[in-house]
């Protein structure tokens, strides 16, 4: 299975780390993968994005231009990338930060109030990992066991106390039951 993921949001929301978690899961699954951050002027304007490719074949271009999945953590990121998503692709949005509804009918959309969920559960700053949990649930790009192992690997040694909270955030996103607050507007 080939899976090209675009993650986008403001600097500081943990976009690059969320991408890294997915990349580490690919590494642990023994797959081909690439992780490419934006490092251009858009980074200096306060937004960050990150391309992650998972594949069973060697990765060609590491730059994701037609994502199978978009993980957007703010409105500018949703607006910028929504039309690039492939038909039947997955779009996951942090509803707390971007109260948007799908502008296309041919995608699988899920709005998660990730920032709010993080704060309610004492997981401030881990909205990114909650969204990775939802992405895992919706696409099955890996397993929850592998993602937990990826957290073990990618949390730096001096921040080991964050391992448990990252795993909790992942589980919250994985178990999130979407409430279709967009149905009224899209119907």
């Amino acid at each position: 299975m080939e899976m090209n993921i675009m993650l986008a949001g403001f600097g500081g929301q943990g976009i690059l780390f969320a991408g890294k978690l997915i990349a580490y899961a690919g590494l642990l699954d023994g797959r081909e993968l690439s992780w490419l951050p934006s490092y251009g002027p858009e980074m200096r304007g306060g937004t960050a994005n990150c391309s992650v490719c998972l594949s069973d074949e060697p990765i060609g271009s590491p730059l994701v231009t037609a994502p199978d999945a978009l993980l957007a953590m703010n409105v500018p990121s949703f607006d910028r990338f929504i039309n690039d998503v492939v038909p039947s692709g997955v779009v996951i949005v942090d509803k707390t930060m971007a109260n948007v509804c799908p502008t296309r009918a041919d995608i699988r959309f899920c709005g998660v109030p990730a920032t709010q969920l993080a704060e309610e559960n004492g997981l401030k700053g881990l909205a990114n990992v909650i969204l990775v949990g939802t992405l895992l649930k919706m696409t099955g790009f890996s397993t929850i066991e592998t993602l937990n192992a990826a957290i073990d690997k990618s949390v730096p040694p001096r921040k080991q106390e964050l391992v448990a909270s990252n795993k909790k955030a992942l589980a919250i996103g994985f178990d999130f039951v979407p409430a279709d607050d967009c149905l009224a507007t899209s119907a």
């Binding site: 890294k20 990349a23 580490y24 590494l27 081909e32 993968l33 690439s34 992780w35 490419l36 951050p37 490092y39 251009g40 074949e57 060697p58 990765i59 060609g60 271009s61 590491p62 730059l63 231009t65």
Partner: protein, 366 residues
């Protein structure tokens, strides 16, 4: 074998260079190369090495000159505008027959250009890396693994032929993370002896001289002719290229570095449509892998060159094929990255008998 780790290309190259025995780094920060220098700043002091951020690229390359003259396994890294500043020092090192590793993580130019990936320094690296009659060996990685593997290779080739060696990467390869197996550390006792180095000897031997100034014309010609014998040996023994699906290929893409990855995807897409496409990926850009190209001519109907530039390596493809087959061209430049689909369209048009010389400005002007 050590385990696979996730690293950026810039960091993998830095770690591999340390493992290859490099203990001296002189540089100056510039995007998209900076992680390489930052990694060295963190790691080299712990290895008993020296990291020095010089006051400028010009100073850094002359520090490399000095350390190389003293026999150190030494390197510098920069990105396009910074390499331009280092050119004088590189020419002096060519003239003084000094091995050193120079890494160029290319960004767009000319001038300050941009900071997105580019291959627009091909001519500079292979044709005019400094003034004068000279070359350096130029290697082009296409994966993070190759960024790591080429560090030791570059030092080995540099020592064997007494020449500076360049690893010509780009912003994509520098910034991306991929799984990489880092090479085992070399034992410093296994590094080759450098009897020519200026090491201090208390008059125990003849003086060594490291110099690039020859005021007597005959002496200068003699020194260049001697160096050219080494260049000839390099051209005979050190051509490197990877071939992908070329055995029966009618349409052969020639691409190096990050573009070769995209071209490989395009070949797979074309094959799925019944177009017999293949890829030659030059790994050594100087010496250019002429032999690998010529081996594919028998089945090939046409060649397609793609670069992140307005067309520089395409010159070497035309020289290697010497008019025997049509050479077509498709590129983006300035930091725009071509997609596999764009190359697929180009291959379809070739298969339909068209010829292509496509750069973005043509469609914009049309």
């Amino acid at each position: 074998m050590s385990e696979k780790v996730l690293m950026k290309g810039n960091e993998a190259l830095a770690e591999a260079a340390i493992r290859a025995g490099c203990r001296h780094f002189f540089g100056y920060p510039i995007t998209p190369q900076t992680e390489l220098a930052a990694y060295m700043a963190k790691r080299l002091p712990r290895e008993g090495g020296l990291y020095l951020q010089a006051e400028s690229e010009v100073a850094a390359i002359n520090m490399v000159y000095g350390a190389a003259a003293a026999g150190a396994r030494v390197m510098t890294s920069s990105s396009s505008p910074g390499i331009s500043l280092k050119q004088e020092g590189i020419s002096y090192m060519i003239g003084a027959d000094l091995p050193a590793l120079i890494v160029n993580v290319q960004r767009g130019g000319p001038g300050l250009g941009g900071i997105q990936p580019s291959q627009a320094d091909y001519w500079q690296a292979t044709r005019a890396v400094g003034h004068g009659d000279g070359h350096i060996i130029v290697l082009a990685p296409a994966t993070v693994q190759e960024m790591a593997d080429m560090a030791a290779l570059a030092f080995e080739l540099g020592d064997a032929y007494r020449t500076p060696v360049m690893i010509l990467a780009d912003g994509l390869l520098g910034q991306m993370m991929e799984p990489v197996v880092l090479p085992e550390p070399l034992n410093s006792a296994d590094l080759p002896a450098k009897p020519w180095a200026l090491t201090g000897h208390g008059n125990a031997r003849e003086h060594n001289v490291v110099n690039s100034l020859f005021l007597v014309a005959q002496e200068l010609e003699d020194s260049i002719l001697e160096r050219w014998q080494r260049y000839r040996a390099i051209q005979e023994k050190e051509q490197r290229a990877e071939k992908y699906l070329t055995e029966d290929a009618e349409y052969v893409i020639v691409a190096y570095g990050a573009v070769a990855r995209i071209a490989r995807s395009a070949c797979n897409l074309a094959r799925a449509e019944g177009i017999r496409a293949g890829l030659i990926r030059p790994i050594s850009l100087w010496p250019y892998p002429v032999a690998a190209l010529q081996e594919t001519v028998a089945n090939a109907k046409a060649y397609l060159v793609s670069e992140f530039s307005m067309g520089q390596m395409v010159d070497d493809v035309r020289l290697a094929l010497a008019g025997s087959r049509p050479v077509n061209f498709f590129s983006h430049t300035g930091g725009i990255v071509q997609t596999p689909d764009e190359l697929l369209v180009a291959l379809r048009r070739l298969a339909a008998g068209e010829s292509i010389d496509l750069v973005p400005y043509q469609s914009r002007l049309a």
